[in-house]
């Protein structure tokens, strides 16, 4: 374990997760993780966590919620056109 490399990895991990690092910087993190089990665990866990969150954001809402949303919108728009 190289303490300086660990500190540098932790300082840049959020930028890496957010896609704000260039390829060389990402490779440096990966290279460090191959030699440091503690950072590898942490970085792997954070990647999984953020990936899980992004999957939820991309998943469609339950079907009945979507149906309710759509029918509320249609009711509102129907009411508006009836008033016009």
């Amino acid at each position: 374990m190289n303490a300086d490399a660990c500190t540098a990895t932790m300082a840049r991990i959020d930028a890496a997760l957010d896609g704000d690092l260039d390829a060389a910087e990402c490779r440096a993190i990966d290279a460090h993780c191959q030699t440091c089990a503690a950072c590898a665990t942490l970085v792997g866990g954070l990647r999984q966590t953020v990936g899980l969150c992004r999957d939820v954001g991309a998943a469609p809402l339950p079907e009945d919620v979507r149906r309710r949303a759509q029918s509320q919108v249609r009711r509102l728009l129907r009411g508006q056109s009836a008033r016009e």
């Binding site: 991990i13 959020d14 997760l17 957010d18 942490l42 866990g45 954070l46 999984q48 966590t49 953020v50 899980l52 969150c53 992004r54 939820v56 954001g57 998943a59 809402l61 339950p62 009945d64 919620v65 979507r66 309710r68 949303a69 759509q70 509320q72 919108v73 249609r74 509102l76 728009l77």
Partner: protein, 172 residues
């Protein structure tokens, strides 16, 4: 128009459910968002500004619901104030899980029980940041605008939130 309004409701439902954790509140916030978006829709010029406006509107509606739930006695309270009570334990704004079993089942099926439990364990101040940034996919600048804190503060809180969330997910 119909698509925009449905999309606004979906955002309202998802954010409210994830931040507040109450399916009934999420339904109410969804309804609020529909009416507010409908009245605002004529003045939309910049889609990015509209997005920020929508999330801020939803967040404010969530705050109103939360205040009712926790029976705040006086004054206005922001999600950010939860941070002053300490970020490692339950925040002052934490509310018990009172979702009906059927609602809970529906939410768990969509979100996954593990992630729902882990999100609930985060202090409200951090939960809002991770929901907006990692689940909703907003930029750091947008999250800063919506929550009215600095971008540096968003980054600090996001790191803390991700670290806590990871720990919680590993413990489950």
């Amino acid at each position: 128009m119909e698509r925009l309004l449905v999309r606004a409701q979906e955002v309202a439902y998802r954010v409210s459910l994830l931040v507040c954790g109450h399916p009934q509140d999420a339904e109410d916030v969804m309804q609020d968002a529909l009416l507010k978006t409908y009245s605002h829709v004529g003045s939309i010029a910049d889609p990015e500004a509209f997005r920020t406006w929508l999330y801020r509107t939803v967040r404010n509606a969530c705050l109103m619901r939360r205040r009712r739930r926790v029976h705040e006695p006086r004054g206005m309270l922001s999600i950010e104030q939860g941070a002053s009570s300490g970020e490692s334990g339950p925040g002052a704004l934490e509310v018990p899980d009172t979702a009906q079993p059927a609602d809970r089942q529906l939410v768990n099926a969509w979100l996954g029980e593990r992630l729902r439990g882990a999100l609930r364990s985060l202090p409200a101040t951090l939960r809002a940041i991770v929901v907006l940034r990692d689940i909703e996919g907003l930029s750091t600048r947008e999250v800063a605008e919506i929550t009215q804190i600095s971008e540096a503060n968003v980054k600090t809180r996001l790191h803390r939130a991700r670290t806590l969330l990871r720990r919680q997910l590993e413990d489950v």
